[in-house]
Amino acid sequence: MLSVRHPKGMALGLCLIGTTFAGGALAEEPYAGKTNGVCAATHVVACTEDFTCMQGGARTFDLPPFLFIDIKKDIIRATEHKSEDVTSPILNKEITENAVILQGRENHRGWTMAIDRTDGTFNLSSTGPDMNFMIVGNCVAL
């Protein structure tokens, strides 16, 4: 047998099998923050500074339904027509055991997007002096 005659070959084989299984397990993660991804916004909640809140779907607020995460360029942009010029730079990126956390700021507003690595759900919150909003949805790797 190979394992008896070539212990190194057996070790290599086991390593390959292990890597394959591990790769399979990792591939099951909807989004791990290593590659580009696309996220679908399903629900939006927005509140003004006087706690007047409204909620609805992305279409209700006339928002683009999809967000594209370009992890190599460190930007997030809409996938709608002519969205190439409209981007959000990712200023901070953290990949924890359970989540991919992206952060940025624009127009005196800060935003944080946390993507659950286990199920791909995301929560994007943006806070500013006049109004705060939260978007939830799902992400997948591309």
Partner: protein, 122 residues
């Protein structure tokens, strides 16, 4: 070289150096927020939507309030309006005619004509 020439030369050099540094340094990625997505387009659309929805709700509430006020006013007018006068009966009309004749308000001829007219209606 005089002091003023040295000063001008130094100032020119400093200006050139500052210009060179400012041009060569890359601008921060978020310096121009014109093309901002999350904090720009998204926030703007959500804000506009909230304002328009709030305005629409306020207009709707005002319209409902106006409608309620109008209905209330109508109800009050209906309550305050006197009940429509009932049509006088033949007896009442004849009695009134008799009173007018007795009071001398109508001539005997008019009395007869009017009485006949009332009786003809029966």
């Amino acid at each position: 070289m005089s002091f003023s020439k040295k000063f001008i030369g130094g100032a020119t050099c400093a200006l050139l150096l500052a210009t060179t540094i400012s041009v060569s340094l890359p601008a921060p990625a978020h310096a121009d927020d014109a093309g901002a997505f999350i904090g720009g387009v998204m926030a703007s659309r959500i804000g506009q939507n909230m304002r328009s929805r709030t305005q629409a709700e306020q207009q709707q509430a005002q319209a409902a309030q106006d409608q309620a006020y109008y209905q209330q006013q109508q109800a009050q007018q209906v309550q305050q309006a006197p009940p429509p006068a009932a049509e006088p009966t033949v007896e009442e009309r004849l009695a009134k005619l008799d009173k007018l004749a007795e009071g001398g308000y109508i001539t005997p001829e008019d009395y007869k004509k009017k009485k006949q007219a009332i009786l003809d209606e029966i």
